[in-house]
Amino acid sequence: MEALTYSYPHAPEPALREISLRLAPGEFALLAGRSACGKSTLLRAACGLIPHFHGGEIGGQVEVAGMDAVASGPGELAAAVGYVAQDPETQVVSTTVAAEIELPLELRGDSPTSRARAVEEVALALAIPHLLDRAVDTLSGGELQRVALAAALVTRPKLVLLDEPTSQLDPVAGDELIWLLRRLNEEWGVSILLAEHRLERCLAAADRVIAMATGSIAFDGPPRDFLAWAQGADQALETPAARLFSLCDIEPLPVGVRDARKILNSTKRGREGRRTPSSLNFSGESESSSPRPADEKVQAVRRGSASPPTAVVGVRDLWVELDNGDAMHDVLRGVDLRVERGERVALMGRNGAGKSTLLRTVAGLIEPVRGRAVAAGGIALLTQNPGDYLVRERVGDELPGDMGLAALRVVGMEHAVDADPRDLSGGERQRLALAIALAGQMEGDELPGLVALDEPTRGMDRARKGDLVDLIGDLSGRGAGLLVATHDVEFAAGFAERVVLLGDGVVIADGPAAEVLSGGWYFATEVARVLDLPGAITPERGAKALLKPGEFALTRPMGEKRRSQRGEGG
């Protein structure tokens, strides 16, 4: 790309400004940046959808595998470029998986035998041969994403562009996808350009990071240099492990878990031969010893009630059956769950584990076949697509009267009464949808017993997730129980005091967040995986553990030494 500038039709500002970028064959580049910074637009320009499909004004040059992307259409570029978008549902156009993967080859005019071989090989590479004869509308989000990737790879493109492909995947499927991309990159020599918000998941696989801000390239370099840049330029782009190291003043900043462990171990060996983190008997001091403001509010709510803790949700021996197209099957199998007033619970598990079904059953959308789910004091459920709640063209029309205004006040949106919901940012639309679910369920300022959110962080950058954590803390402080289904372990570590892990419709773990999110590999935060210490799940808690006097190898003098070397310590 040379001096690429692009504006969408009728847009007042360019979405891309003077982008100059060169991706070498076989390179794995990560495209980072906050929401709406231009990542998706850049990917769409590289595959020819811009300007051919979206229109608008374009300046500069885009050349992909020797073809002029501005002159050629996406169809011609398809031979050299594969594109995988965020929403897998709109990326499939056939009825069966085999037909979907075969379609680009058929349109290219390949013979049936070569098509069959290519389909088989790409299916084997992506570990989906068992899906080939399935109907696409029976696949899970993760499976569908793999099928979309297979359809993009089947023509053996030189470049694959991926726009947040893991946003709908659980941690297991997300990690598998990233390492699959790395393997394809190494073994097939495919160049990869991957836009992603959860950088901790893919930084270690990348050769290079391109960070964007307001349509321009703000940084372009190796992952370790990117972390150093993000530390000063935009902390929302820091990975948790990098944040941990910067809090402890350890250098260099780590690119992934393995790198972090290596740096920590070598740092310790160099310092008086003290013990490594995994051999320490760390007691895991919990955050409850220094509670956050939201926690204090919750404690006040709980103290205010003389009676024993009140359950806002009582689920007992819950069995739910759903039709998967072929037959009825059990989605929830004897689930027991109790959420207290003001409690913040994260509901986690793989795609298809039954998280959404549990929330929908509690909200009364699904009738259980056995057992019962009672939400005492009412429930406000925000489903995965906040846009589904917005059907009118004025916020005030969605939420009329005093009850509407009260709900808007709870989510901090009272200033937007006259706005068109379509003009709001993604985070504001989510708050508005929550207000719609809350409206009329409050007595004065008192919220319904349970506020439930289903995958609220899809496509969110870390800054917006932080805002959501604050909102959750606020709602919890007002006395509502919070039950949030999420795949995002870092987000869960940020807000939850308790984590319930579902596996194939059964509760397989239920305990304090600090315990559950540090006890595994996939459902564990990056800091927990680095330190392997009970309770150390966030950078702040990890740093506290690392700097604990007398217990751990790292102490402040090292940081002071580093600061003095940089001339920051005075």
Partner: protein, 316 residues
């Protein structure tokens, strides 16, 4: 939740057959349903179709179509009985009705309504079996060389229908989850929202088709192979069954078999030809029967094609 009529890939002969063979087979049975008014022949056609659907694994589709057809048939019987006063056997005189005038319910009108209902139910079962067993991708692929733009439109629509159905279900759920203080969602705003969402979805699907190279003409030097697109070893069976059913039905019709007259009194011809034709129609439902494999024969098959060819070329 999936529609019972949605295509489900299964390893059956009807699913493996080329679209043309499947359409010939099912179309012949539908043609019989329109050719005859005899309830015996229609019932035999319906039985053949139900048997075919069950053998093809489309049990849910057949059941759903059967109940829908039965409901429709009852409705037709009631309407016909009230609207048509022809026939000599008056069962009830219901007097003067607004718009309808004098209403006499006759046995003949009920019988004619039942025949019409039976025909409608039979055709519905045929379409249910088609919908659940014939891969729409293969149909569109077969149509593409004949009418590219129509095939593109059909591809978009066939993909958008399930997506729009899923969107509608989500919107209905969201409408239920609105708090009592939020403005209620009427059908009109919901429909508007669904339409707007469908247009967005259509743009995304069209973009995907662009990226797959749908707009390109196939290269002129595309290699030709000895394989013919979409054929299967079961095709002959379905072509033969369809042709037999059609020829036998026309021949029987020419000999005035399967006669049925509702008015002025019911006349039903049940001769040997009618019974033979009916037996043939029921037996035609065995066409999708899959013979049990003999494992030993499979193991010793010397020229068994490799998996990739089996899947990609014939799917048989």
């Amino acid at each position: 939740m999936r529609s019972p009529f949605a295509y489900t890939p299964r390893p059956g002969p009807l699913q493996a057959a080329s679209p043309a063979a499947a359409v010939t087979y099912l179309g012949a049975l539908v043609a019989v349903a329109f050719l005859y008014s005899s309830p015996v022949v229609l019932a035999a056609t319906g039985a053949g179709l139900i048997l075919a659907g069950r053998l093809a694994g489309a049990r849910k589709a057949v059941r759903a179509a059967f109940w829908m057809g039965l409901t429709l048939a009852l409705l037709i019987v009631v309407v016909n009985a009230l609207v048509v006063s022809r026939g000599e056997t008056v069962l009830a005189r219901l007097g003067e009705w607004p718009l309808l005038g004098q209403v006499d319910v006759t046995l003949e009108a009920i019988a004619e309504g039942a025949v019409l209902g039976l025909r409608a139910a039979t055709v519905m079962v045929a379409f249910a079996v088609y919908s659940a067993c014939v891969d729409p991708d293969r149909v569109l692929r077969a149509l593409r060389p004949l009418a590219g733009r129509s095939a593109l439109t059909a591809t978009l629509v066939s993909r958008l229908v399930p997506v729009a159905a899923a969107d509608a279900a989500r919107l209905r759920d969201a409408a239920q989850l609105r708090g009592p203080g939020a403005a209620p969602v009427g059908k009109a705003p919901l429909a508007r929202r669904l339409l707007a969402g469908s247009l967005d979805r259509a743009v995304d699907v069209a973009a995907t088709l662009e990226l797959r190279g749908y707009s390109l003409d196939p290269p002129l030097d595309a290699p030709r192979t000895k394989y013919r697109r979409g054929r299967s070893r079961y095709d002959r069976r379905f072509y033969a069954t369809g042709a037999t059913v059609l020829i036998a039905s026309i021949a029987a019709k020419l000999t005035a078999a399967g006669a049925f007259h509702a008015y002025p009194t019911i006349e039903l011809g049940v001769g040997p030809t009618t019974l033979a034709l009916s037996a043939l129609l029921v037996l035609s439902g065995l066409a999708p029967l899959r013979r049990a494999r003999r494992p030993s024969a499979l193991r010793s098959a010397p020229n068994r094609p490799p998996t990739v060819q089996a899947r990609g070329v014939s799917r048989a």
